[in-house]
Subunit: 368 residues, 2 copies
Amino acid sequence: MSLTVGVIGGGQLARMMVPAAVELGIEIRVLAESAAASAQIAASAVGDYRSRDDVLRFAEGVDVITFDHEHVPQDVLHALVDSGVAVRPGPDALLYAQDKLLMRDRLSALGLPVPDWASVVSTEELASFIGDHGGRAVVKTPRGGYDGKGVRVVSDADEVADWFVAGEPLLVEELVDFRRELSQVLARRPSGEIALWTVVESVQRDGVCAEVIAPAPGSSSKLVDVAAEVATAVAENLGVTGVLAVELFETTDERLLINELAMRPHNSGHWTIDGAATSQFEQHLRAVLDLPLGSTAMRDPWSVMVNLFGGPIVERYPAALADQPGVKFHAYGKEPRPGRKAGHVTAGGDDLDEVAFRARAAAAFFEE
Amino acid sequence: MSLTVGVIGGGQLARMMVPAAVELGIEIRVLAESAAASAQIAASAVGDYRSRDDVLRFAEGVDVITFDHEHVPQDVLHALVDSGVAVRPGPDALLYAQDKLLMRDRLSALGLPVPDWASVVSTEELASFIGDHGGRAVVKTPRGGYDGKGVRVVSDADEVADWFVAGEPLLVEELVDFRRELSQVLARRPSGEIALWTVVESVQRDGVCAEVIAPAPGSSSKLVDVAAEVATAVAENLGVTGVLAVELFETTDERLLINELAMRPHNSGHWTIDGAATSQFEQHLRAVLDLPLGSTAMRDPWSVMVNLFGGPIVERYPAALADQPGVKFHAYGKEPRPGRKAGHVTAGGDDLDEVAFRARAAAAFFEE
């Protein structure tokens, strides 16, 4: 017997599943977008994740299909299920990661804490929402957005007039007065077992995650409990299997509101590779294979992850590695491109200031 | 620019370099013995490490060649060097890992501590050595032995009469009255930088490493210093690059004697994957690429590694992973075969007894 996991999508999330698979002795195969994909070392096929034929052919002989991203169309997901292969997370869960309007609607129906929101189909409806919420709001395209794309903060409905042209409804949300952004990452098995890492603070710049601090500094035990309860409720009610990241706003009046969901390993969990007993990538593989989950204990009291953008990375190792022998360096094997997530660094230790200093000092060698 | 390492040999040591390479963004290619090799995920070619043509073809386009094992013949190694590719460790160092007589001779000439030894070409010479050393001795074939193969403890020279048939000299050594076996693992760059992990205790069963305890319990600071000095002297004088393991006897009269050398990642260093800031596999890649070495600090006060023999491994994960959520499990993707190293488990923590208990409890699920 061997265990074989098929991953649709060859980005850095698939790439970072490879070390965990190799260590555990699990066979990993990737359906990559191109031969130069980040996860190319495990690519068993190059193909289009929107093509039923490509995906069904790729899935032959694997024990379970999982994902580098949430963009596989529902008809392709259902074709996989109909072919008899295990798909984790399944189409009925992924739906809520694919469509932000459905997500907001479902979370509201479950009574989970979300910002005020509405589905709007016209500038008039949007203008009305903006007027009711202090003159500003966040507008999101329900599908296809990531890393700040498909998101605009507006004070006038005309600022997204171009988005209404498509005729599809848009999601509008109140502009939350938040103190900081948090993320609660967990993994859930089909059999129901759930394991949560500590809740972390995610520092965004220009709508993109720049830095993650684990655990979120100065968190009350109540905040920690609520974050865990909310994320657990999402996982259980939406039937998520594998890793789930629940991005949260901590408001200035000490509430937690759900911002976004990701049903896959997530940037806010990269610190777990070096900072936790079980990384989110190992845990994701265990979870989708319905194997018992590993300990989520931290290896150090503090862990700080800083993203590296653009690249090049490896070229700058001689100076960076010499300067920071205790920092862990990660490069995604991508062609350098401005603003692109090209790698990350993680530091761990007993003192947050010192840990953050080391991680940032290491990252500074790779600044664009 | 990218960095590309070519590894000759597709066993578990090459396999365990893959996660480190993927995380660092280093391209790794393996010349594997077969398509079913343990390191198959990184195999760019299947070929014979004794074939100059196979090896030279494999080496095209890589920045450095390194090894899963020490068996590449000297003429092939020199052909690589002559072709202009960096070979680390180089042929002049590997010679001493390939031939135990040359190794003993060189270490003796350097004044490093070794057991009494001799090169013998006849049962008469061997009988004389045995007579001079209390009636027992250890006889070794100079080449090709590993994991207890090519080693016999004898009290009568006729017990290795079959080995003399080949006409080659044999190595005979005193049977050292040792308290325990230790291993000092380090890495050295071509530029000279050296980084040592803590000295560990290696528990052997039937001539094969069964368990490793890091650090070696109850070691005096003098023992720690001497182990580091001896291993550093070996690395520097033999010009080793990459990882070097120096296996040592700690005698009942508190001396350290060099037993064996390995110029590659070594079983006594597997604990570093989970137990040290930088694993021996990451450090080996850094060293052979002449990149700055990483911290060798331990992640926990104690780390215990237990080998898994035979297999199957993955099939027994459901029970084992559920029982030991904090233990790290490693499987080498090999077909089950009695006595074969098929994987290992590592536990870490503050209390040696508890750590050893957990590692052994996890390993017990895989007993043959």
